[in-house]
């Protein structure tokens, strides 16, 4: 732990902050703009990349990581890193699952199988959102309201 002289005013300052704010607002505009154009699956990537740039700007300037002791930045990065690990391994699993399918008709669908509705232990209360449908036109009309 080396001696460290001042932490009071060696960095930052209103000008930097204001510039950072303007940058962030511009990036917000760009995200919205980019989402209007169809890049296919790349849209999500673009949106998240811009968000990450914004997050980095917030971290570096508003949160002073640029000037702070590096240990704080390391802690912050560790948070994101381990979140990334969590997500990555989950995706390794989910994207590679290949369940075997029964060659026969599945037992569950066979006529002689226990109808789910007869088994109160395992049958949920009727699913609330499967209510009688409204006239289709009405539902769609509402949907288009956006």
């Amino acid at each position: 732990m080396s001696a460290h002289t001042e932490h009071s005013h060696a960095h930052g300052g209103p000008a930097v902050y204001t510039a950072n704010l303007i940058g962030l607002l511009i990036l917000t505009g760009i995200t919205v703009g980019a989402s209007r154009i169809d890049f296919g699956p790349a849209n999500t990537v673009i949106a998240l990349s811009i968000a990450t740039v914004k997050a980095v700007l917030v971290g570096l300037f508003f949160m002073h990581l640029k000037w702070d002791k590096s240990v704080n930045a390391i802690i912050a990065l560790a948070g994101f890193l381990f979140l990334g690990i969590f997500l990555m391994f989950d995706l390794i699993d989910l994207n590679n699952r290949r369940d075997p399918l029964p060659r026969n008709t599945p037992v569950l669908a066979a006529p002689t199988a226990v109808p789910e509705s007869m088994n109160p232990l395992t049958t949920p209360a009727p699913k609330p959102w499967v209510a009688p449908a409204k006239p289709v036109g009405e539902a769609e009309g509402e949907h288009e309201g956006h």
Binding site: D99, P100, L101, P102, R103, N104, P106, V107, L108, A110, T112, A113, V114, E116, M118, N119, P120, L121, T122
Partner: protein, 322 residues
């Protein structure tokens, strides 16, 4: 399953009997790691005990100031690393076999539910808690669950896999030892988790064919003896009736069968009726048509699961329980 003392030392006795070739391969890895562990265990325990004895406190003894030794550190990091890489591939090798079933396997579709196992054979016939397979032919169990997680575990075959609602999972094996093998549920699934077990019977091709045709090799014996009640008792155990019905008068999930026959039964809809043979059959095939008062309508239908002679046996068995 008597084991000699030597078997306990070599680790053989730790394992159940082997029912398939795959079991042998798993055992080899198991015994391999077992011996490796014994060696490493001794490599730790002997110095521990020896040092504690050899360097026991003596006033005035001066201890050397040994702080570290990089060569040693590297040795005992890299050595285990190499062993571990080896073990990983050894385990992977066996697992690859487990993960892929041969294309010509006989497929049995398995449904787990609280708390019984249901097996459906290629011809569509079914059994409960009672799986029959021919010897020396690969068998593939494609499984799903109707409620919570279960796990079909056949210790003698060294295989198990979780059974998941809404998904299918698979285990396979090629049994090579005739006779009964126990299977159990190995994923916690509630109250009767520990009761969710049954028997895997490995049979000769001829016996298996007979089983498919008649519901069991024993059928001819019972038929010849004209022992309908005995045949029914067998079904009571095999088809899982015993998980809900007692025969000694105690009531569990379902009403007891003791004294059931020709009893005047009252139902939840207020009606009453005599429990005659016809009623009993209806109770098995459409259990929810008439629900006995004081019980939940939880009994699954056995339509398609019971052959006629099995129903007849059960009727006779219930009749015999006075």
């Amino acid at each position: 399953m008597e084991h000699s003392f030597i078997d306990y030392i070599t680790g053989q006795a730790m394992l159940p009997p082997r029912g398939s070739e795959f079991a042998g391969e798993v055992d080899l890895v198991f015994i391999g790691i077992y011996w490796l562990s014994i060696i490493l265990f001794l490599a730790i325990t002997i110095p521990t005990v020896y040092f504690a004895w050899r360097y026991k406190f003596k006033a005035g003894r001066v201890t050397p100031h040994q702080t570290h030794n990089t060569t040693l550190e590297i040795m005992w990091s890299v050595g285990p690393l190499i062993i571990c890489v080896g073990l990983f591939f050894w385990g992977l090798d066996g697992w690859m076999k487990y993960a892929v079933a041969p294309g010509d396997s006989m497929e049995v579709v398995v449904t787990g539910k609280q708390w019984l196992w249901q097996f459906e054979y290629p011809d569509g016939s079914r059994t409960v808690n009672d799986l029959h397979v021919p010897i020396n032919k690969p068998v593939k169990l494609t499984m799903t669950s109707e409620d919570v997680l279960h796990d079909l575990f056949v210790p003698d075959m060294r295989v198990k896999v979780d059974v998941i609602p809404g998904r299918y999972s698979m285990i396979w094996f090629t049994p090579n030892v005739l006779g009964p093998h126990t299977f159990t549920c190995a994923e916690y699934c509630g109250k009767d988790h520990s009761g969710m077990k049954g028997t895997l019977t490995v049979e000769s091709d001829a016996d298996f064919a007979k089983f498919m045709a008649t519901g069991g090799t024993e059928w001819e014996e019972y038929r010849d003896r004209n022992d309908w009640a005995g045949w029914g008792k067998l079904q009571y155990e095999r088809k899982g009736c015993n998980s809900c019905h007692s025969v000694d008068g105690t009531s569990s999930k379902g009403p007891t069968w003791k004294g059931l026959f020709s009893k005047n039964e009252s139902f939840t809809d207020g009606s009453t009726g005599i429990a005659d043979a016809k009623y009993l059959e209806q109770s098995m095939l459409q259990p929810n048509a008439k629900v006995v008062k004081g019980f939940e309508p939880i009994m699954p239908t056995f339509q398609g699961l019971l052959r006629n002679h099995e129903i007849k046996g059960l009727q006779a068995y219930i009749e015999s329980l006075k």
